[in-house]
Amino acid sequence: MKSRKRLIFWCSLLGLILAMTIFSDLLATQPVNEMDLDSVYSPPGEGHLLGTDHLGRDVFSRLVQGGKVTLAVAGLSVALSFVIGVIYGGISGYAGGWTDSVMMRILEALISIPSLIFVLAFQAVMQGGMWGMTFIIGVTGWFTTARIIRSEFIRLKDAEYVKMAKMFGTPVWSILTGHLLRNSLPPLLVVTIFNLAGAVFIEVSLSFLGIGIPPSIPSWGNMLYNAQNDLLIGAWWIGVFPGLLIFLTILSINFIGEALKKSGRGRFHA
């Protein structure tokens, strides 16, 4: 009962953040890139709810618009890695035998390589815009999904009802989607939620380092790019608010993931 309340709390918090970014066009008081060089570094207060940055841009407006970018990149990339992971893991798990062992060896090796290394490598050769980022995070984030899907498929494909379906000549495609995939959804959901947190992490980290989303597009990570310098001159609001929002977003995603993992513990054995 208590854990249920907690889940609702974190879901509403995440929902609030999401709503804020979805309706960012209504909420934003200034255009994101409108510079006002007369009021650079003005602290939170009148006119600028959360102050302005070193170019006099409104922090609050950039924050809500930036959230849209960050969450869109994270969400789309997770969708991409979901698809890749399900296909790779599904083939591996359903085919079994040699195909499976070769695919698993490769996967094991891929998991052993820091994904940030992949991201850096891709980022070096691609001209990374928003779509580029989404693509990069997506194609480097599917490893765990594939592993979970594979072990679920292996577990499920010997289940009685799947054998029955096969016997009755149900097409492979409908066995895969109707039986195997549908029954793998609970653990898949958990890992996808954690992937989402990871994707937000990567976007903000790379943009913070200046090798992510181009500076012209506001994202939570980008907003922090200058925060270090801003802090040195005492403009704490530029760094604190985006950081806090990133923290709360990842925190609520993680808590939701934990709650779901716990509620389905019996099934989550991968």
Binding site: I106, I111, L116, L120, A124, V204, I211, L231, L232, G239
Partner: protein, 323 residues
């Protein structure tokens, strides 16, 4: 069976290095401009024709791609990673200068993470229902949700700007003697950020496996027979440690990824900072070399963990889990 296990783990390491090398080679050739230019480093103008000829021959630049890959791999294994495009010096020697710093940060933070998480996880796991037991998972989730670089920024603001007790960045003070104490002072902040954002995660893992062990059949049998609690705990810890080590191995790659960011934030002149910088200035040979070296470090770390697991887990040693 044991031999099979070792073989499997070795094969994994080789495969990792192969993929990493392939990735590096791919970067080199997908990069804009002639690949030969990339091999010359930033010295395309100053190199003599003979030198260019020598490089072209060593890397088989006039041959098909697979042959080039082989030639490049052969050079890489011998330690010739080419010339940095930005600095015009051999990549290997630049990496050599950076490596000790990365290993220092990695080693020190890993040391404190392991010590801290063992202590926290053990204490929490052994006392079910205690404040620590209940608080640890919340702490773990919260601490691992903080972006390391943001915590770092807050630290810099607090300890370097406001309190002025620690240097804000770098590996040593400008004009300092470059001595041990100075370096340690610079290490404190990056290391604490890495430790704080990771220790909870590992502690919680150990806590949960200690709890699972405490609920196991053999603990009940031992308790029913009045076996000394100290003896029981010893056995429980030993068993809880095996999955903990495994978890350590599984997470080392992402741990490495995290340190890239921390190094860049604190301008800690290690491999991570080098990687980020070479992406920014598109110094491909340097990036390739850095990626190769990172891959190698990860493979070696995984190997060390495998050896430890092997020593700790008799089932592995006796080949029970060979398959």
């Amino acid at each position: 069976m044991t031999v099979k296990w070792i073989g499997k783990r070795m094969m994994l390491g080789v495969l990792v290095l192969f993929i990493v090398s392939f990735l590096s080679f791919f970067i080199m050739h997908a990069s804009p401009g002639s690949s030969a230019t990339a091999y010359y480093g930033g010295n395309a103008q100053t190199l003599t024709a003979a030198e260019k000829e020598r490089i072209s021959k060593a890397f088989a630049l006039d041959r098909p791609l697979p042959v080039q890959y082989g030639a490049w791999l052969k050079q890489a294994v011998q330690g010739n990673l080419g010339m940095s495009a930005g600095v015009g010096r051999p990549v290997a020697s630049i990496l050599g200068e950076r490596l000790p710093n990365t290993l220092l940060l990695f080693g020190v933070s890993m040391f404190f993470i392991i010590i801290g998480s063992i202590w926290l996880g053990m204490t929490a796991g052994m006392r079910p229902g205690s404040l620590l037991d209940r608080g640890l998972s919340a702490f773990s989730i919260a601490s691992s949700s903080i972006p390391a670089f943001w915590l770092g920024i807050l630290f810099i603001y607090l300890f370097a700007v406001t309190l002025g007790v620690l240097p804000s960045s770098g590996t040593g003070s400008l004009g300092g003697d470059g001595g041990f104490v100075d370096k340690m002072k610079h290490l404190i902040m990056p290391a604490s950020v890495v430790v704080l954002t990771h220790v909870g995660l590992y502690a919680r893992f150990l806590q949960e496996s200690v709890k699972a062990e405490l609920g196991s059949y053999y603990v009940m049998a031992a308790r029913a027979n009045g076996v000394m609690e100290r003896e029981i705990r010893r056995g429980v810890l030993r068993n809880a440690f095996i999955p903990y080590l495994n978890y350590l191995g599984v997470t080392i790659p992402s741990f490495f990824g995290g340190s890239v960011i921390v190094e860049s934030l604190f301008a800690w002149s290690g491999l991570g900072q080098l990687l980020v910088r070479s992406v920014m200035v598109k110094d491909y040979p340097l990036l390739m070399g850095g990626i190769m070296l990172t891959g190698l470090i990860v493979v070696i770390s995984l190997f060390v963990i495998d050896v430890l697991m092997y020593m700790l887990d008799p089932k592995l040693r006796k080949g029970e889990l060979g398959g």
